[in-house]
Symmetry: C3
Subunit: 430 residues, 3 copies
């Protein structure tokens, strides 16, 4: 099993994944999931072309061997091998010669970042095209151009990867990341790397919740997953979409559509402790797969963690989003944040004070100094808070927020009180 423990491990995996031409179906996607499978026991699920997923249908499977654009002088001006963004993703096969004026309808540049090749797709309407830098476009001379796109669009299947780490309870936490973007490092090689490393770390730990990791193509992949799992969605207590976790920006948490789910308290709390520059933004219906998971028919308690946000950095969806944009250190810090979120979710329990009438005597249980008159130390204050608030309502995180004491103190106090027989956990779990 390939280890994903160090920052260098994370970056090495990113370097390995970056060059692959992924899409919402096809060989690149499967190869990506197989590489992840060397680090975590990922199960691959195939959904055949033509399968209905709510309002959508799984399209034909797309594969591509090579693509060239050859100018009137016979020079290759675009070669798919140089950069897989240079072909419109899901381009149908074509072998043709056409004059520059007609070719131009098939050429895409980025108006925002003319120096980079833009990332363009056409999954649901048959089309072909090339993407290129504006300067390269301007150098194209008039005349007839040769187009060769050796791709295929045929009945096949859409692939997603899934890993379930069972816990003491069948109640679930789901972690999503999209797996369909080709050579774009931050969006979303970074998400694949961090989600895999998180799963590997968590696999060796005791778990209260069952944790489900899903690596799926955006939109249609997540819709397939929702379709395949619809009867069991009621098991999900918390969820998080991961993406854009390798750049240098501080973290941004985007709230679930509900806005008041537990995850909407937990993640902001964890991030605030790790980085005061981290931000929390409201839900909006654009972005990654929270679009599907938080659609009104599902309305799952799923938030999203990124560094930069979608469309929030200069290199977004262009060849500028390359390996130089991300770093092992940044991936590693994001992994740390995710681990802290896991610990907060696992640790954020609710307890019931078993001696609720008056303060129980902590002194006779050795939890309080026997000499009175001085003010309690911070750990004793944490115990008083936990005892006072544990009436079945507030969670430990709620108590941490109300008291102003840090989560770890509150959690330790709860454990000490539970060991002393003064608290019982309210699981609310199957």
């Amino acid at each position: 099993m390939t280890s994903l423990a160090s920052d260098a491990d994370l970056m090495a995996l990113a370097v390995r994944l970056y060059p692959i031409c992924r899409s919402i179906t096809g060989a690149g996607l499967r190869e990506t999931l197989r590489i992840l499978g060397a680090s975590i026991p990922l199960r691959l699920i195939e959904t055949p072309s033509g399968t209905q997923a709510f309002d959508w249908e799984v399209p034909q499977e797309w594969n591509i061997e090579s693509a060239h654009l050859i100018d009137p002088d016979g020079r290759t001006v675009i070669d798919f091998q140089d950069h897989n963004l240079s072909v419109l993703n899901y381009s149908e096969p074509v072998s043709a010669t056409l004059p520059l004026e007609r070719l131009k309808e098939r050429l895409h540049i980025s108006t925002r970042n003319p120096d980079w090749i833009p990332y363009k797709t056409s999954y649901y309407r048959r089309n072909w095209g090339f993407c290129l830098r504006e300067s390269d476009l301007r150098q194209l001379r008039p005349g007839d151009y040769r187009v060769e796109i050796n791709s295929s669009l045929e009945p096949g299947s859409l692939t997603y990867g899934e890993l379930l780490l069972p816990g003491a309870s069948k109640r679930e936490v789901v972690i999503f990341t999209h797996a369909c973007h080709p050579s774009l490092a931050n969006d979303n090689v970074s998400g694949l790397v961090v989600a895999s490393a998180l799963a590997q770390w968590l696999a060796d730990r005791p778990r209260r919740f069952s944790w489900r990791f899903v690596f799926a193509p955006g939109t249609i992949g997540t819709l397939c997953w929702l379709r395949n799992n619809e009867p069991d969605l009621g098991r999900i207590d918390h969820g998080l979409v991961l993406g854009l976790l390798g750049d240098a920006a501080p973290w941004t948490y985007k709230r679930s559509r509900r806005g008041n789910a537990d995850i909407d308290t937990i993640v902001p709390h964890v991030l605030r402790e790790l980085d005061p520059l981290s931000r929390v933004v409201d839900f909006d219906p654009y972005g990654y797969d929270e679009r599907q998971l938080c659609s009104p028919g599902f309305n799952l308690p799923v938030g999203r963690l990124t560094r930069s946000v979608n469309d929030g950095y200069l290199q977004y969806h262009s060849s500028g989003d390359d390996l130089s944009l991300i770093s092992g250190e940044s991936l590693g810090r994001s992994l740390l944040a995710c681990r802290s979120i896991v610990e907060a979710i696992e640790g954020n329990r609710r307890y019931l004070n078993l001696s609720p009438r008056g303060e129980p005597s902590l002194g006779k249980r050795g939890l309080y100094g026997s000499i009175g008159g001085a003010s309690p130390a911070s750990f004793q204050m944490a115990m008083l808070w936990v005892l006072n608030q544990s009436d079945g309502g507030p969670s430990l995180l709620d108590i941490s927020k109300r008291s102003g004491l840090d989560f770890e103190s509150i959690r330790s106090a709860a454990i000490a009180l539970q060991n002393a027989g003064l608290l019982t956990e309210l699981s609310g779990m199957e």
Copy 2:
């Protein structure tokens, strides 16, 4: 039918209404309603003197022909024909001679604005008197004064005007304005003019709601209307009291007693778009007929729209509130605001997303570009918001507020989605 479409039309109606001596009963009130009847098909309702309206009783009808105050030298120092404010409104008939010292008990000046004639009434206790400028009071010489007030207080009736514009539903919106003030231009010739013009404009338009316009004397007139309509008050979904709409001040919206009625969201939203200087104030139990409509036994969802507020401008309730205080432009802008409020009430629908599990495919319905990778345009964002939020809870206005997108974009998106079969309206209407 007299048109009330242009600013000049509005001002012309104000000029025509201003000189009439209105009161809570009598010929001036009826004449006013008949003049409005030339623009809108107003129905006049008469409630006989002595009728009980909750804690109140319709008083005897008051009419006045003329009134004079003649000084010891035989000179007419006050003539009702010069200004109808100069007689205490509801003065009983009197023909008498009395010395200045005793007369003074019957003379009213404005301590706040000594240069203007104050507006004073005595509807519910028999009384008579004159109102005058302080400088005129000071010039009165000692001696015997002749008083002639040719008025009558006799069994008759109280008149109010009503117009119902039926809509697709029997659910109602009520628009109130008081009709009892004599020669006071802003308070409330302006309200009569704007409410009439609004009704005329709305009469020609399709309506989802039924709209009811009431032109009634303050307090007792509104109480008569409430008494006559009590069994049907449950039909009212929204209401607005109009007044003080012709001066130059920015608009003020006063919330309903409930404070969280739909009208309390709708009007502030509309005003904010029209004038950033517009204000919103909390309900208080003083003012115009919101006092009655929002009394705890009715507690109707009725707010109030004015420019200046009652008692909030120098000329309030004095002869200074004349035609120079108002303008056709200001009346016209207030009419525009009222029209926008009507459109917002009519347009603020609730929809249900018919494809709520996941985002429906907008692309296959031609509502989304087929080339992916770029960020959605604002209209596409509006569609995503409407789809995501339309679970039966939020109205379009709620969605506009949550998304930060303007109401018209949200409304257009909803219509496009409804046409595509993705939304159905939830009327909640009979």
Copy 3:
């Protein structure tokens, strides 16, 4: 009966109580309650040693005659008669000689205030010791010291004092103050004095509520009271813990655990009117007997009024908290605040408007001027507010806050309207 009416009376009582060596049981506590009994008819309740009070047990009764520490030269370096803080409260009897090195384990100083004798206790573990200034500690020469503590720990009882002032209703307001601290002036001779004076003042007044005053040892005394009164706790509508009321700091109100009890509105309102520097702080589970009263198994609507807060002043729990820290004026002002709180609790009624449909005619009842046209005076506005809001929900204090009119105007308006037959009180009281 000793009067507690003037500031001088209050200070005289404080001077009399200060020297007594109180504890959670014993003669000093009983003597204290007997002295208070000269001003108010206090009933003393004894709970035997060994009685279980929830998680606690009443300890053996402690009494002390004398205590000395004699140095190697035969000089008395500590004498209990000089300051009762100099003996660890609840020290067991001891007669022994031991070298300085072993003695030091039994000597307590204040690290925070080395110039003062700290206040230390050991109620629940047998122990003995002395408390002293750091400078005195440093002067102790090596050698053998003679220790004589003439105390006793024997089966006896815990004493608390209680006074019930019955009101028209059996619904109760409880006032708590702790009675166990020895020579500490602000904490809590001040509380004993103010609570007694408040009870004396209130004994002569008509009361809607029944008022219960409890003078009890901290923690165990309050737990005994709770144990003895558990079946009747449901009668308590409001409660207040008093303490630290004699120093010069502005008042601090600490909210009940509920945070939204009526008392949490009433006290802040009263304090704001008396002193703009007064503060309101959230509940926390440390402090005085609100710890027990607001434990989750009781969760009583009890707040706390102090000037400085526990642990919030330099002299806290040390010999620096002596009579120079408090003043008759400060005690008197605190008494005034407590009186105002009593009046607000007694006066904060809820009414029902008996003429809720429309505004009732105030004019025909002589409550409104008969000449219309001018704005209502403030008393008339208060009547309009009370009528508009009295639908069974808001209390007079709620109406005062919503209207911005002062509580006394609102209360007077309610009385005038009740006299006019327009309001009826909703007691909600047995």
